[in-house]
Subunit: 192 residues, 2 copies
């Protein structure tokens, strides 16, 4: 999506270790007009999939997931992260790993808010190795609900999580896919 | 606001220790149509205040803050919580206390996203003792920005944080104020 690629080129910052900082418009300060455009595009891509629920993980996925859920007129559920091992029986939970913060964490969703007749669209701001999507998928499978696909703002194509998920049959729509980031700050997008 | 009070009466659950669970529509599963209505009302209450930025704290404040920022057509910034003491010099930070999770945490906002000419509307899902608002206020003061007020979904009036903030001259608009919650699950709202 040209609008997002332009924004990344203009405001994104590349740091060593393949870190892309987009916290001026996506995940700390958030440009809600941009988010609305991204959400509309994700709605168009999944509008024939009979989505009943949008699921993301706190906190950075919430703005895009909320705006997307509004287009579908369905509830948005955000999985909660918890360092606590003291899980209530009323939660589905799955282990995940955070590259940004380091370390493992548990992701959980109350059983009351995910049912076997749900058709879930997963939304997140970033897709890299795909571990977060794996954990949400695990939870959706525990609930015997259906996954209609994943809608992502920025995919780090060079980490191949998206390719792996697509090879497994999941419809993954990423609005910008970065195939290369260089030390001089240049960014190469995958043509879509 | 009648719409929100009705929703609380229908779906809210009162637990011992003055806990009100509204995670079926406000802060785990989120009814985005409701959020849009709440945001529109907050926009109407603050539309003459020349708001340039909406600030909240991750994670539960984000849906309402994002929707409100969209009405104002200004950026939304969410303060990040961190247990780490290893603060970068480029962040404003303030100490806060979480009653829900227990324990203290640090709240931080990158200095790039809050300026002295900003006029900030603070948004949150809950207001109880007001400690989270105090911490955001501290950060806004560090940046020498102006606070136009606070827009809240649910205020626990019986914990008096809202009354204290109003007495200090802050315009606090809470869309539902609960003056009493009883063991039998009944809830009394403050007439507004």
């Amino acid at each position: 999506m040209q609008l997002l690629e332009d924004k990344i080129l203009k405001f994104g910052k590349v740091y060593p270790g393949n870190v892309l900082k987009v916290d001026s418009f996506l995940n700390h300060q958030v440009d809600m007009s941009l988010i609305a455009e991204l959400a509309k595009e994700l709605y168009n891509q999944f509008k024939d999939c009979a989505v009943t629920k949008v699921i993301t993980v706190e906190a950075s996925g919430i703005p895009l997931a909320g705006a997307t859920a509004q287009f579908f007129n369905v509830p948005m559920v955000y999985a909660k992260k918890s360092a606590s091992k003291n899980m209530s029986d009323n939660f589905y939970c799955a282990a995940a790993h955070s590259y940004t913060h380091g370390g493992d964490y548990e992701m959980r969703i109350c059983k009351d808010y995910l049912h076997k007749d749900d058709r879930v669209l997963i939304i997140d701001d970033f897709l890299a190795s795909g571990k977060a999507i794996d954990a949400i998928t695990d939870i959706i499978n525990q609930a015997n609900a259906a996954i209609v696909g994943a809608g992502i703002a920025i995919e780090k194509g060079f980490q191949h999580g998206g390719d792996r998920l697509r090879a497994n049959g999941i419809k993954v729509v990423s609005l910008a896919i970065i195939d290369q980031m260089n030390a001089d700050g240049t960014i190469a997008f995958r043509p879509q």
